[in-house]
Assembly symmetry: C2
Homo-oligomer: 338 residues x 2
């Protein structure tokens, strides 16, 4: 049997830590066991809290290794300050454990900004990468999601950075979705090659000359159609579109309940529509996609939503195993140094 893949889970990250982290880790472990995948999970965080949660949920303590970390990076901690002041945090020590070669991947649903900056500072960058980036999958009208990269890590970008995001995103989609030649599109204000701001124009030229499967400029309306597999933009645009998209569901719910409140017939209609709506909107659930990797760091760091449920944590851990097994980082280095 091959060497186990060793994954460190930040038991203190996320709004519902350590409960959801431990339940998610347990579910992941069972999945790996059922599928004969050799994975070891190490929980890092405040030992007492972890042990209490394990006990509460009736999980056999022998399932996990536990590494104690005295401090916790809170969801509202300022990342740079947390990095300087909380050297005993589960985030810091967990990443250090990975850096030191005792683990192959790190997973956290904690303070996103802190997970990003700690990961970059502790793990460093893959040779050839200027800026690590995060990508997020958006659902589409097809059966495959689209990766939007950068989804918020880098708000000021040069054309060269966008180009690297495209390369990393393409490799990630190749490995995770199994698409041989992912179609890469540059998010812009029009399809013609003369469109866009200065940076988009320059990035367009870089993509055009590359060996990527670059399909050209795409527009905001093309993100959800599955026209491309990778949407490249800077993190300023990516973050705004991502948060806007997330708010659409809330908006629709508000509109639906406002409609229901206009009369008894409307109320009945809306009640009848509910299962249909729910069914139709399946697949827009972030839990299914689990976390997103910080691409370009010299290690595997999977970042999850603060509100991660056990299912989301489980999927983050599965994702970590996949990124290690499929050698995403080795491919990125090869592509960027060739």
């Amino acid at each position: 049997m091959a060497q186990p893949i060793r994954i460190v889970v930040d038991a203190m990250g996320g709004d519902f830590a350590p409960q959801n982290e431990i339940l998610g880790a347990y579910q992941a472990l069972r999945y790996f066991q059922e599928h004969n995948i050799n994975v070891e999970i190490l929980l890092i965080g405040q030992q007492d809290a972890i042990q209490t949660a394990i006990h509460q949920h009736g999980i056999a303590p022998s399932q996990f290794s536990i590494l104690h970390a005295d401090e916790v990076v809170a969801m509202d901690d300022e990342p740079a300050q947390a990095f300087r002041k909380k050297r005993q945090s589960s985030l810091y020590l967990g990443l250090q454990h990975h850096k030191d070669g005792h683990a192959d991947a790190f997973v956290s649903a904690g303070n996103t900004g802190a997970v990003m900056s700690h990961s970059t500072l502790i793990l460093g960058r893959i040779t050839g990468v200027s800026r690590p980036t995060i990508g997020t999958f958006f659902p589409t009208t097809t059966s495959q999601p689209t990766l939007v990269v950068d989804a918020g890590a880098n708000v000021d970008c040069k054309a060269k950075h966008l180009f690297e995001f495209g390369i990393m995103g393409s490799i990630y989609v190749q490995c995770i979705l199994g698409i041989e030649r992912p179609r890469v599109g540059l998010l812009n204000v029009g399809e013609e090659d003369s469109k866009g701001n200065d940076i988009a124009l320059e990035a367009y030229a870089l993509f055009r000359q590359s060996t990527l499967n670059f399909v050209g400029n795409i527009e905001g309306r093309d993100i959800l159609t599955g026209t491309v597999d990778v949407v490249v933009c800077d993190g300023f645009v990516g973050n705004i579109v991502l948060k806007f998209a997330e708010s659409m569901l809330t908006f629709l719910k508000a509109k639906f309940s406002a409609f229901a409140s206009t009369g008894i017939i409307q109320k009945l209609l809306m009640a009848a529509a509910k299962p249909a709506l729910k069914g139709a909107l399946t697949g827009m659930n972030y839990e299914d996609y689990g976390g997103v990797p910080l691409l370009g760091v010299n290690g595997v760091s999977i970042i999850g939503h603060g509100k991660s449920t056990p299912l989301a944590v489980k999927n983050m851990i599965l994702r970590a195993e996949e990124v290690v097994r499929k050698e995403v980082n080795q491919r990125i280095e090869a592509a960027l140094t060739s």
Copy 2:
């Protein structure tokens, strides 16, 4: 009775010209007559086509003045080239008519890029304005829409431009929605004042020092909540968010019909849900808002969607009258030169 407000309607602009333009103009005229508002409408375009359409719809020809223009700027004409080569177009001659003082406003559902550039080149800019801008109303969960400005006119912006967009947007919302002190938010990746790219940081400082009712940074998720009345961003971000938002309805429809196709019960449920969905999504219809003005040009130029229906054209004309009557331009000049 006061002098009439004279509005030139580009009868050749839009995908369904001149039919929808003429029907919309007629509906607008009836509205003005019923409300005792003194407006004269001049249709500009190919005389034969206009007269045929008027005749087809049984409209008394005396309702409108008609000004002949030999050429038509097509929806796919390159704006700069159309400006140089089609000097007899309804777009060019209509704006020139307005510029020469024979009309108070110009309305077109034609080629958006061409209407913008023709308007800027022919009408010039209001004193104090660096860059004319377009704003678009987004629906919100409250009863009032939010103006997103710039919605695509300027893809490369400096902080100063964003600041001017905020001023113009604030005045426009004041006049059109009757909000005395519109809340202005800067679209950014986080609420803290330290967030954002270089331009957003610089713009934040300008807004902070201003007399506008600036509420600070807002995020993508705040656009649809009605937290602010004016959302300021550059036209690159604005265009992408606008097109993304427009595609959400198509996306939902696709999801709903995919759900309906999974079985007979799902089909029945979705059929039952249809009126509810339609009712709930009322107010997301661009037709209701009519066109958007190109703010900052030295004149009134209302730009409509290429697919404008008669109702949309009618509302564009009503909007033109309102912008003239409420002296939006005079207020912008006063604010930017004080």
